[in-house]
Symmetry: C2
DNA sequence: CTGTTGATTTGACCGAGTCAAGACAACAGG
DNA sequence: CCTGTTGTCTTGACTCGGTCAAATCAACAG
């Protein structure tokens, strides 16, 4: 994309400031990070940035449509720059790592429930919970309790 | 189900106590409530119950498989007794109301992503965001302003 | 009835995030 | 380039949801 962050900020009606460019820089390098990590990383570029400024910047970016906020259960909110497309997330139960998943099916039948109980639905949010490759390998002990293995859980959440 | 709460608690290796029965009673009447509401309602049955006791009871119930915890983005956690089956939730952006949705499609292709980035997925969590019937009618709404941006979200999640 | 052990109470504490007031800087207009 | 306006950032207090730890209490096995 040819458009610069300056352009995109201004297009969204936002002023171009150092804190904002710093946060955008961090988000470009790290696709899914929390506010605290952003603050720490942004400080390398703009040392005086305060935690509250990060919250303010992130809110402005989200409201301006430049960033998206995701809130995995039990963890602080994460921010990403991929907006406008429909993609979901894989979250590691152990380390919290997040990966993007493109929704491969065009129709996505499961995402338009026939029974909406009178709700006017405008978004379907999907989170896939599991164990990432790294955490799986670092598990020295082979699980013996089969009932607790992910395999037993499949069929509950995935597909059904 | 013929089984009593007493039985189910004991089966899960939990002692039968007044606070636990009080919380289970509240959850039976109110299918999706937060810890604070549970505490208030439970006090009608067991006046001395403390907020922390409610957290403790809820944790025990979740760990024992008697209750399920759901954490809608930007709102306190909710608890429900429906466990073991696969169902998802509709959440109202304005009032926070929650309704159950059975996943009607058997195969649910969107819920088993082909590209799992090395993750071993064991659960797919789906949340449908929208406006409930009540809030749609009473457009005078008191905004329970969530961090999400309803307008920007339209057309992102559902079907695609 | 009594002892053990798990559950509850009480109260301090924590992390994530918000709110508000004042200082500051981006940018429009001259 | 300078200046004023107004949006943004800094600083610091505060809220909310929830956890942690020590001491008391009660479930239930014997």
């Amino acid at each position: 994309m040819g458009t610069t962050w300056d352009d995109r900020l201004r297009t969204a009606g936002l002023r171009v400031t150092r804190p904002r460019l710093a946060v955008l820089g961090v988000l470009t390098e790290h696709p899914h990070v929390d506010a605290d990590t952003i603050a720490t990383a942004a400080r390398a570029v703009h040392p005086s940035i305060s935690p509250q400024a990060v919250y303010g910047v992130l809110r402005a970016l989200v409201e301006g449509g430049l960033a998206r906020r995701i809130e995995p259960a039990g963890a602080p909110a994460l921010y990403e720059l991929r907006v406008g497309d429909n993609h979901h997330h894989l979250v590691c139960r152990e380390c919290g790592a997040v990966a993007d998943v493109d929704c491969v099916v065009g129709a996505a039948p499961c995402l338009s429930p026939s029974e909406t109980a009178g709700f006017l639905v405008d978004e379907a949010e999907v989170v896939f919970w599991g164990i990432c490759a790294d955490c799986r390998q670092s598990r020295v002990v082979v699980r013996r309790d089969r009932s607790a293995t992910p395999a037993a859980a499949i069929g509950r959440g995935v597909g059904a």
